[in-house]
Amino acid sequence: MKIALLGNPNTGKSSVFNLITGLRQQVGNFPGVTVEKKTGTLQIDGNSHTIIDFPGTYSLYPRSKDEQVVYSVLSNEDSEDYPDVVVVVVDQSNLERNLFLFSQIYDLGLPTILVLNMTDLAQRNGLSVDADKLKTFFPAAQIVSTNARVGMGKERLMTAIADMAQAAPERRTPIPLCPIDDVTCQEQEAKARYTYIHQVIDSSLSRVDKEKKAAVSSLDRLFVHPVFGYIIFAAILFVVFQFIFAFAVIPMDLIDTGFAEFAGWLSLSMPNGVFSDLICQGIIPGIGGVLVFVPQIALLFFFISILEETGYLSRVVFIMDRLMRPLGLNGKSVVPLMSSVACAIPGVMATRTIADWKERMITILVAPLMSCSARIPVYTLLIALVIPKTRILGIFNLQGLVLFGLYTLGLVAALVVAALLKFILKSRDKGFLMLELPSFKSPRWGNVGITVWEKVKVFILDAGKVILAISILLWALATYGPSESMKKNIAKAKKESKELHLSEEKTNHRVASAKMESSYIGHLGHFIEPAIQPLGYDWKIGISLITSFAAREVFVGSLSTIYAVNETDNVNKRLIDKMRAEKRSDGTKVYTLAAGASLMVFYVFAMQCMATLAVVKRETNSWKWPLIQIGFMGVLAYFGAMITFHLLS
């Protein structure tokens, strides 16, 4: 049996979903659309039923991409996800507006269960709903009252669903939906429904204190205060930022060294040969490179999820909207931009709630400029390489400041580009906000946990598979090359090592480096060298630039191979020492402050993530936009790096 779970946003629908499915849920896609489809299974009397959690909507007639799915499924009986039973979750403290959607769904004629949720909130506000009276207006519906946040009502709901499954009530005659583009029809429907709903409310809803005046909660006064509101938001961002860096570092290092050790052990135990090389130098670092970001992504989504569950995030959208608008963005753009600091993939997907095409498009296009987790190893390496470990004004750590500066640069670029896009892109409709500010509640930790788990899963699967495949190919391109030059260079390296009386280990390093130089990627690096010299780079850096265009995570690994640093050692320190010693043919250092800074700026701006491009294509339904993204970010990166290099030389 297929069950559809519907309801307004902020009704605790996801709590209900999590309550009855537990962890037996997964995220997929509605066919042909990019909206996520959350499905779960419930067991009733030994039978398994599927329940689909549809995006929250105020009306069957959609106003944004995620709401379109509700209409398209429910208006078409042949739709793959058309349900047998519908469960509508309603916020009792907000009955009038919630009944609008409910009455629309009830009129579809399907077996319907009405879940009166948020009983505690209603009680707090002095409201009480008479379920029996309610039933007289909607006789065919089963009515269940719950408080999903604390787990109350689960049994009742399961019983109601079980009854529906057994009784298999007949389809009532549906009242036809208005055509999707007939606004007049829909407006008339709205008026008629609310007239009916007023009767329902008069009969079934009772208020304890009738004349309760609408008051502003003290929390709201604080969060939207012209001064404190922004200070609080900035403080929260700062704390989250610090937390993520401080706490994520520990598991990240563990994963890093763990994988390095594993690769080292494996290379010793496996028979020598190219395949074990592929495993130890290509695949394992590839997988490790993806997993190492999980702690950060998990922590970031943990915080965003809490902010959302408590209701605070909508206040942020509220105070940011006016500031975002001149930039062509919407207050709702805050969430995708924040998420993009962990990873742009879930960030781009989060733009689905932005109804206006142009606002959404601009958010999608600039989101990757927010420095994501993958850039961090690049930043930290380069900063350690060229920025001295001193303090400014006695208190500020210079290296920390530069790191903060890089993030700020990304943010500023995102905002400036957004403003430019506002003039360039054509508007289709006027954007609107129309946002509900839900009441404050303490977060339901179960929901938070499940959200984090889902987001991490998406990252590992979507991005991970692509990055792994790319790692394999890159390894191949870096290992194989035109055989003539390869043999020559290897022979040369061996000869030089002999002349310098180097140990076997050091000789192997030199040979590895020579191999990379004569590989396909090495040739490519030499080939692009003239183009990147104005930025201060040589062909070796060129190799790393190329490899990290597939995925930024690959940057440090590539450098390690080029500079012949053994992966199992303390990579960063050895690598930094090697890089510091690198000299050009004219004797000057390669990694000067100018070159290092130029590289940093390049990585702030460049679009170097195939996985993100794929998601952008999917979300915008065309290849035009990912190409435009590569284009403008590439231009920014190239000229930004060039200007930085020349300014600092």
Binding site: Y58, V183, K191, V224, D321, F432, M434, E436
Partner: protein, 80 residues
């Protein structure tokens, strides 16, 4: 005495009389803003835009230009 919702001061209530024809009129109606509905303006964002109104049970935030589409009537004060 007709006014725009955007002109109502914080803390005051007003009754909706009609909504100007626009692309969001339907959405506003579906959110409960129908003729006869009494709403209270609660607070404004730091730059005065958007505004937050209480619609009988929940808080809805609207941009000023959205609120300007909603025509309202303030309760007339009895002249003592």
């Amino acid at each position: 005495m007709s006014a725009k919702l955007s002109e109502i001061k914080n803390g005051n209530c007003a009754t909706v009389t009609s909504i100007e024809d626009s692309s969001i009129r339907l959405k506003l109606m579906e959110m409960g803003l129908l003729p006869g509905k009494s709403v209270t303006v609660l607070f404004r964002a730091p730059l005065g835009d958007p505004i937050a109104i209480d619609v009988n049970g929940y808080i809805l935030s609207l941009r000023l230009d959205e609120a300007a589409l909603i025509l309202v009537e303030e309760p007339s004060l009895a002249i003592a």
